[in-house]
């Protein structure tokens, strides 16, 4: 048997890392999985070598070296300030974590492939943004907040890394908001509210990716994506009003200033992460193009946005939820 890939997954206890490790359990092309996170994964995973570590710790360099990994899958980028102990902690984790991880990986010659989870939040939203955003869209003038800003900065480090280590294939997957029966995201929190706040006079288009499709995209990209940036999303869009109706809920249209106030109250109470870009989202929405992922490594989502929402409604099991 030929030598399979030795992969390191950061954020192995969060949704994508966990499911990806689970998926590679029986993959013969994967020889070893090294999982890094602060907490141990909630379910046992075969082949997994769990290393309890913070990627911001320079110790990560030794882990990379001693485990002889050739592929680094960086999923440890979080959009939940409330679960990380606040926004500044979240930024530390997302931006400094990426910086430290890449600094370590740069010295390890055996690493030939780096995959990073990013988000379509890097595009920003506004009246001048295209209706369907492609990967090469220029976001220099976009006003980014929180998660989108973190992802954008982390991507800059990844691009710098790619410039310094030209022998490494670097792949960035910009994920559309995940939804599904077991993943917990800002979007699933939002759509789980008893009444769903919306903005008066606006009905944004919603485009989501089903959790299984998101994992599938990472698995495909691990084996075959040429270096580059790819949007990962489900097909089709629905208006927010329709999504609310599908879920059997009621929308609560709010005037923009009221929504801003309500968002900060909710944030403070800690029931739901309602960052400022969520407000922009209620007005403009964000839809991305997915052709590149299909053409370059054959990823086509099995679920449309509508089907993903229906699945979220029908099969949701709150107790098994894993945060993204």
């Amino acid at each position: 048997m030929g030598r399979g890939k030795r992969i390191l997954i950061t954020g192995v206890s969060s949704y994508l890392g966990l499911r990806l490790a689970k998926r590679f359990e029986h993959d013969d092309d994967i020889e070893a999985i090294i999982g890094v996170d602060l907490q141990e994964p909630p379910v046992p995973i075969g082949k997994l070598d769990f290393v309890p570590a913070d990627i911001r710790n320079p110790l990560i360099a030794r882990v990379l070296d001693s485990t002889e990994v050739d592929t680094v899958i960086h999923t440890n980028i979080s959009s939940h300030p409330s679960r990380l102990g606040g926004r500044s902690q979240m930024k530390e984790n997302n931006v400094m974590g990426t910086l430290q991880l890449l600094a370590a990986a740069q010295r390890v010659k055996r690493v030939t492939r780096v995959l990073m989870k990013s988000s379509t939040a890097v595009y920003g939203m506004g009246p001048k943004e295209p209706s369907i955003v492609r990967e090469d869209h220029d976001n220099r003038y976009a006003h980014l907040y929180g998660y989108g800003k973190d992802c954008s900065e982390a991507e800059t480090y990844v691009r710098d890394f790619a410039r310094r280590r030209r022998d490494v294939e670097v792949v960035i997957l910009r994920m559309q908001s995940l939804i599904g029966p077991t993943v917990r995201t800002n979007m699933s929190d939002y759509l789980s509210l008893p009444v769903i706040p919306t903005a008066v006079g606006y009905d944004p288009r919603l485009q989501l990716v089903h959790e299984e499709d998101a994992v599938e995209a990472f698995a495909l990209a691990t084996h075959g994506a040429p270096k580059g940036i790819y949007n990962i999303t489900g097909r089709g869009v629905v208006f927010l009003s329709k999504a609310i109706r599908m879920l059997g809920k009621v929308g609560l249209p709010m005037l923009y200033p009221a929504a801003t106030a309500a968002g900060s109250v909710l944030r403070r109470v800690g029931t739901v992460d309602f960052p400022p870009d969520q407000l922009q989202f209620l007005i403009y929405g964000r839809v991305v193009d997915y052709k590149r992922a299909r053409e370059e490594f054959g990823f086509v989502a099995r679920y449309t946005t509508e089907e993903a929402i229906a699945d979220f409604r029908d099969r949701r099991r709150a107790r098994d939820e894993v945060s993204a």
């Binding site: 369907i132 492609r134 008066v200 006079g201 606006y202 208006f239 109706r245």
Partner: protein
């Protein structure tokens, strides 16, 4: 480089009494609508004769699956049944939209019919050369923009949807002001508009859509009465670059009548900057009569679609040759200007 825009003489039909529709209405009287160009019937009766479905004769856009279609081929279903099915589908939200948010069912079944009185009886629009628009495949409509509020784009969309043999939908490119405005932005999405940027233009043309641009932008709609029917600067040639790269034909469009519908007598600049608007119009009725002043005056309109100008046949790097692009932009602007002058002559009196 040869420039096709110059060596084409613009033909315009001589003014003639328009042909009436040959059908008889349900009340037994002869139909008073104008017949479509080259056809015996008006757009209402043509549909009945040829049994053209009222909705969704075109293909769904992109990879979207179409969930429900409003079919009127089912002769047995009573009008009431169909209406209740339509209503329940609308209420459940069980209707398809494309990725841009275009809701074909709503547009064709509700919104376009609402525009008919405005188009036929109020503005009495005469549409010429609509069959010059290709029946399928992508094309870029380039028109003059006027009339303070962009009602000319709406009338053009109605003209193509109602009078073109393939009843094509026009996808207009809307400025950011539209997309920031509550209610209006949503309505624009549902009726098929997209954001005025290169990305959206390419994306729509790739999906074989008919895209409309008004390169004058706010300079066109916000110009004063003394400048009426004088075309302003045609953007920066962006639309030509898009057409060249996408290799789609340009259809020049001249719209006459919008200037008199909202004659802009003055511009309250201080108020405009306070409200963050590109201009604040003062017309004979607005703001004098308040919201009532937003009603357009009953001007007579002419919309002419010119012969398509092919954009293939140029070298691959033609779009990068800025000089060539600007020349071509100017010649298309001149051409539309000439069409506007002829349209004015053809129309005669502005209101009667």
């Amino acid at each position: 480089m040869r420039n096709p825009a110059n060596d084409n003489v613009i033909r315009l039909d001589a003014r003639r009494e328009p042909q009436r529709c040959g059908a008889t209405t349900t009340s037994g009287r002869p139909c008073r609508n104008h017949a479509l160009e080259g056809e015996r019937y008006c757009h209402v009766h043509r549909r009945q004769r040829h049994n053209v479905p009222a909705i969704a004769s075109g293909s769904p856009i992109g990879d979207e699956e179409q969930h429900g279609e409003l079919v009127d081929g089912d002769a047995d279903a009573s009008v009431l049944d169909r209406l209740s099915a339509f209503m329940s589908r609308r209420l459940k939200g069980d209707y398809p939209i494309d990725e841009f948010g275009y809701d074909e069912e709503l547009s064709r079944a509700i919104l376009l019919p609402l525009l008919r009185p405005l188009y036929e009886h109020y503005f009495r629009v005469r549409t010429l050369g609509v069959s010059r628009i290709p029946s399928e495949g992508p094309a870029l409509l380039v028109g003059n923009h006027s009339g303070t509020i962009p009602i000319d784009a709406v009338m053009m969309q109605y003209a193509v949807a109602a009078e073109h043999p393939a009843e094509r939908v026009v996808r207009s490119m809307g400025a950011d002001l539209v997309w920031a405005a509550p209610f209006i932005s949503h309505l624009a999405r549902k009726t098929g508009s997209a954001v005025a940027c290169d990305e959206d233009a390419y994306a729509l043309l790739e999906r074989d859509q008919l895209v409309a641009v008004f390169p004058e932008g706010f300079k066109g709609v916000g110009k004063g009465w003394s400048e009426r029917y004088r075309l302003q600067r045609f953007g920066r040639g962006g639309f030509i670059e898009v057409a060249l790269r996408a290799r789609v034909p340009i259809v020049p469009v001249a719209i006459v009548g919008a200037e008199e519908a909202f004659p802009m007598m003055g511009n309250a600049k201080a108020l405009a900057s306070l409200l963050r608007l590109p201009y604040f119009p003062i017309t004979p009725t607005f703001p004098l009569l308040g919201p009532l002043g937003l009603l357009p005056l009953p001007s007579r309109w002419v919309i002419e679609f010119g012969e398509p100008i092919p954009m293939d046949g140029y070298p691959d790097n033609a779009a990068d040759d800025k000089m060539f692009v600007l020349d071509l932009t100017d010649s298309i602007r001149d051409r539309i200007q000439q069409m506007v002058y002829k349209g004015l002559k053809y129309r005669g009196s502005a209101f009667l």
